[in-house]
């Protein structure tokens, strides 16, 4: 078995040294969480007689920094995956070339954060607190409704959040609290959370799979900062068929932060026309309807319909928090540093 499995990769490696041949390859740089259906991508490749190569480049922040560092000779034609918390960094670095796709007409204005259409919205999702339904029903404890509730003694030691310095949902939730309490008072709120037994970990994986009691990890905290779509994912990826999700999301006004993800054409692309076609494709109904069950995000194209699993088990927040990307860009380092000092240090 060993020899058989090594052989193909050796052959491919040797062949790769000879340089690319055949149809044109369009390269799309993405973060690691990008996913799509084989059939949908294949249809695009066939229609345009090209090959699409995806370059996974780390988490959202790492991928963007790599795109910025290689701006002089871009690694790809299209870059997908910058969100509204990083948008300004991308725009200031000037890595995109504008493209006013005709499909923008089908996207509500609230998602179009770049008036020059350098970065075009593709999807959105709400970072919310997920809760373990069984825990709250077995303790007959009401599920918290507001951010203020979380600081009440009844919920002592029940919440795990991610460090905003190392995790993007962690940062998003911090931004929700800044929006709700204001840049002067949010630290007091976090201090009250801290004295209420707040647990902080570095990554979403640890928070969700190790600390959260509603996941397969069966941890100790029944509330975790995750996504509003997680309840649907728990049903789709259940070991045994479930008719109801074991977890829910707290969706009260201002408790969630809306993340919007963008795509853009990288300056210096040698395949501008094809790159524009690919951006159109990402905004098209076909791709937009494929996204939810692949990446657990919502389509921005208002004509795209949602899969059954999303309609039944996932909800979006009615009044999610949003912040101006320029404001985030100007303050994110300070906010994170201040948060670190208030929540993690001086014990």
């Amino acid at each position: 078995m060993k020899r058989f499995s090594i052989l193909p990769i050796l052959v491919v490696l040797l062949l790769s040294a000879c340089g690319p041949k055949g149809p044109v390859t369009l390269t799309v740089m993405t973060h690691d969480s990008f996913a799509a259906s084989e059939g949908v991508i294949a249809a695009f490749e066939k229609a345009n007689n090209i090959k699409v190569a995806f370059l996974k480049s780390g988490d959202a922040g790492a991928a963007l920094n790599k795109a910025i560092l290689t701006a002089d000779a871009p690694l790809a034609d299209v870059f997908y995956g910058v969100d509204n918390t990083f948008l300004s960094r991308a725009l200031i670095a000037g890595i995109y070339t504008p493209y006013a796709s005709p499909l923008l007409a089908k996207i509500p204005d609230e998602f179009k954060l770049d008036p020059q259409s350098r970065a075009l919205p593709v999807d959105y999702g709400d970072v919310c607190i997920n809760f373990d339904k069984a825990y709250f029903s077995s303790k007959s404890l009401p599920v918290p409704v507001t951010l203020e509730d979380l600081a009440k003694p009844a919920y002592k030691g029940l919440l795990v959040v991610e460090n905003p310095a190392t995790s993007s949902p962690g940062l998003a939730f911090l931004l929700a609290t800044i929006k709700h309490f204001g840049p002067d008072a949010y630290l007091d709120y976090w201090k009250s959370l801290r004295s209420n037994g707040l647990v902080v970990v570095d990554s979403w994986e640890t928070a969700y799979y190790t600390n959260f009691s509603g996941s397969s990890g069966h941890g100790a905290q029944p509330m975790v900062v995750s996504y509003a779509s997680s309840p649907a994912a728990e049903v789709v990826f259940a070991t045994t068929k479930l008719t109801d999700s074991p977890i829910g999301s707290i969706l009260g006004p201002g408790t969630c932060f809306r993340q919007i993800e963008f795509v853009g054409i990288l300056k210096g692309t040698r395949h501008l026309a094809l790159a524009q076609k690919f951006v159109d494709f990402m905004l098209s109904q076909q791709f937009q309807q494929d996204m939810p069950l692949q990446m657990y995000v919502y389509p921005v194209n208002s004509q795209a319909s949602l899969p059954q699993e999303f309609i039944r088990y996932a909800q979006t927040a009615s009044q999610p928090a949003t912040l101006d990307p320029a404001l985030i860009a100007a303050n994110r380092d300070k906010w994170i540093t201040d948060w670190t000092a208030a929540v993690l240090q001086n014990h």
């Binding site: 040294a17 340089g19 799509a36 920094n65 994986e205 397969s216 993690l344």
Partner: protein, 591 residues
């Protein structure tokens, strides 16, 4: 490894019978540029793929203009992080030695039933991704881990008595778990080559066993112990995943802080400053270590000591105690993964009663199904194939580059003494920084051709080789140095042509070390060390990548499949190590 390092620098003629003047004569032959020849390939490799990219990214962060953006607070922060990094690495190294040295002794001196199983078991953690090791420890020691649940039941406690994650203890435990194999391998190899006549002579001169151990065995083992301690220290010093996943946000090492500054804050000047500090520290350790070991003479004995069955009461209890300790320390956390991968544990949730607890093979069968028709789906055998393919290339590449460098180091001249500490540097480089350096260096087609290194799969084995090379060189060098010249001379006198001299004299002695080196290179690659995870990955996902993909989405099936993939990775590692160790290269068993 450095079992017999630099015997030429010893003040006495070494036991191989080559006197000092003779060596010096050989060294100062005319045409001294020839000494550079064996260095050409390895130095060129390191210069292109390590030093140059690193220099470029450091310059980007620390050129006179961007340097000025550093504030006094930044320096304070760097100092604080440096202190903690030092502190935890020192503690971790001491603990690793405390476990590793007796275990090395155990494997080198005694034959017992579980030996090859335990040897493999101790090597497996080294190549497991941190996410998986963290999951294993959490299943055992977490708030809902077996140990806590057992203790809570036993003593009727309300809260879990053991708090593991987010403590310094968790960091130390995980470091010992990961790195003990380095001590076992480096010191164990040296122990089995120790000349038994020295101990016998001391005994016959009236020394008791304790004195022999203290004054002969331990004294002779100083270089390999120092070598192992240095490698372990550097690994602990540059620790990243363990700190993030088990230590939690209260702890920050240089590498963690570099990641935060470079990726999250995009503060390249501070990231570069921290990388430079980490690099200079590593360089300082390497120089100190080079100095330390050159003061020690080690006798050369190409014979391998044959391990014995334990027979006295003391020996039997020693073996029994450490077998038990290793089984508990390694088997408990490691076995929690395979157990979890076949256990259905869904819920205690919304629909209690409908869920069937028990054993399941679902997670494994699910691995073979691309249920979501995902373009990034990777069948498990492909992932295994990709991992093994990269590992095989890394072994080949690092041996090809390591052999000439190790042969040159085996007869050190002035050049070698300068280059020696430099060779360990890749281990101390920040992988975040090097990853970014590789990206800004290789984002253009090479030499005007169509070929882009960055988007080809070649960069992965190259990045693995950068890390594997120091290991390979450290492993090969002492074996090459231990070959007595008179053996070669005798062969030549008896009429053997050079290839035959190499085959009958050098190869039997070097083959064991080559196997050891190959195992190290292999494990480094399978475990995806260093910068490889931080360059871009076009195709060919490996096992660790597949595990990370499953863990990045919610859902019981995803978690189960991640555990199943991790179990497969463990099995592949175990089988591969057993296979490499069992390889009987021609000549290996002849002496």
């Amino acid at each position: 490894m450095l079992t017999h390092p630099k015997d030429s620098q010893s003040p006495n003629p070494d036991p191989a019978g080559v006197s000092k003047p003779e060596r010096q004569a050989r060294r100062s032959k005319p045409g001294s540029w020839l000494v550079l020849l064996p260095w050409l390939a390895p130095l060129l490799f390191l210069a292109i793929f390590f030093l140059y990219p690193l220099a470029r990214i450091l310059w980007l962060g620390l050129n006179p203009v961007s340097f000025q953006s550093l504030t006094a607070a930044n320096y304070g922060q760097a100092g604080y992080v440096l202190l903690f990094t030092f502190y935890q690495a020192l503690l971790s190294t001491l603990l690793t030695l405390a476990l590793g040295l007796p275990v090395a002794f155990l494997f080198a001196r005694y034959n017992f039933r579980l030996k090859s199983f335990l040897r493999t078991l101790t090597a497996i953690p080294f190549m497991l991704p941190t996410v998986v090791v963290a999951a294993g420890f959490t299943a055992l020691l977490g708030p809902r881990g077996w140990l806590n649940i057992a203790l809570m039941h036993l003593f009727g406690l309300v809260n879990p008595p053991i708090i593991f994650a987010g403590t310094l203890g968790a960091i130390l435990l995980a470091h010992v778990f990961y790195n003990t194999t380095i001590v076992v391998r480096l010191v164990g190899n040296a122990l089995s080559r120790l000349d038994p006549r020295l101990a016998q002579a001391a005994r016959s001169l009236g020394a008791n066993p304790l004195q022999v151990f203290w004054r002969i065995t331990l004294a002779l083992l100083r270089p390999p112990i120092l070598a192992a301690a240095l490698l372990v220290f550097i690994f602990d010093f540059t620790s990243f995943g363990v700190i993030l996943l088990l230590g939690g946000p209260l702890f920050s090492t240089l590498e963690v802080e570099i990641y935060k500054q470079a990726i999250s804050f995009y503060n390249l000047p501070l990231a570069a400053l921290l990388s430079l500090i980490q690099l200079l520290c590593t360089l300082a350790f390497s120089i100190v270590y080079s100095r330390l070991i050159t003061r020690t003479n080690v006798s050369v004995n190409p014979r391998v000591n044959v391990p014995i069955r334990p027979y006295t009461f003391f020996q039997r209890s020693f073996v029994a105690f450490f077998c038990f300790l290793l089984l508990v320390f390694y088997l408990l956390p490691l076995s929690s993964l395979p157990i979890r991968s076949v256990t259905r544990l869904e819920a205690d949730q919304g629909q209690r009663g409908q869920v069937h607890y028990g054993l399941t093979g679902d997670y494994y069968t699910e691995l073979f199904i691309n249920r979501r028709d995902s373009i990034f789906y990777v069948p498990p055998f492909d992932a295994i194939g990709n991992s093994l393919g990269y590992a095989a290339l890394t072994v080949i590449l690092s041996l090809l580059l390591g052999f000439p460098a190790a042969s040159a180091l085996a007869r050190p001249g002035r050049l070698e003494r300068i280059l020696d500490p430099l060779l360990i540097l890749p281990l101390g480089a920040s992988s975040v920084t090097l990853g970014l350096g590789l990206i800004i260096t290789f984002n253009k087609p090479l030499f005007g051709s169509q070929f882009m290194l960055l988007s080809s799969p070649w960069l992965v084995p190259i990045a693995h080789t950068i890390i594997a090379l120091p290991f390979v060189i450290r492993t090969l060098q002492p074996a090459l140095a231990s070959i007595p010249d008179r053996l070669r001379q005798a062969a030549v006198v008896l009429g053997a042509p050079p290839p035959r001299v190499w085959y009958t004299v050098d190869w039997p002695i070097v083959s064991r070390a080559t196997l050891s080196a190959a195992v190290f290179a292999f494990t480094v690659s399978l475990g995806e060390f260093g910068a490889s995870s931080l360059v871009v990955r076009p195709e060919y996902p490996t096992l660790p990548i597949a595990i990370a993909r499953f863990l990045s989405q919610p859902g019981g099936l995803n978690y189960g499949q991640a555990m199943a993939m991790a179990t497969i990775l463990m099995l592949v590692c175990g089988i591969a190590i057993l296979f490499i160790e069992r390889l009987r290269l021609p000549g290996t068993g002849e002496f």
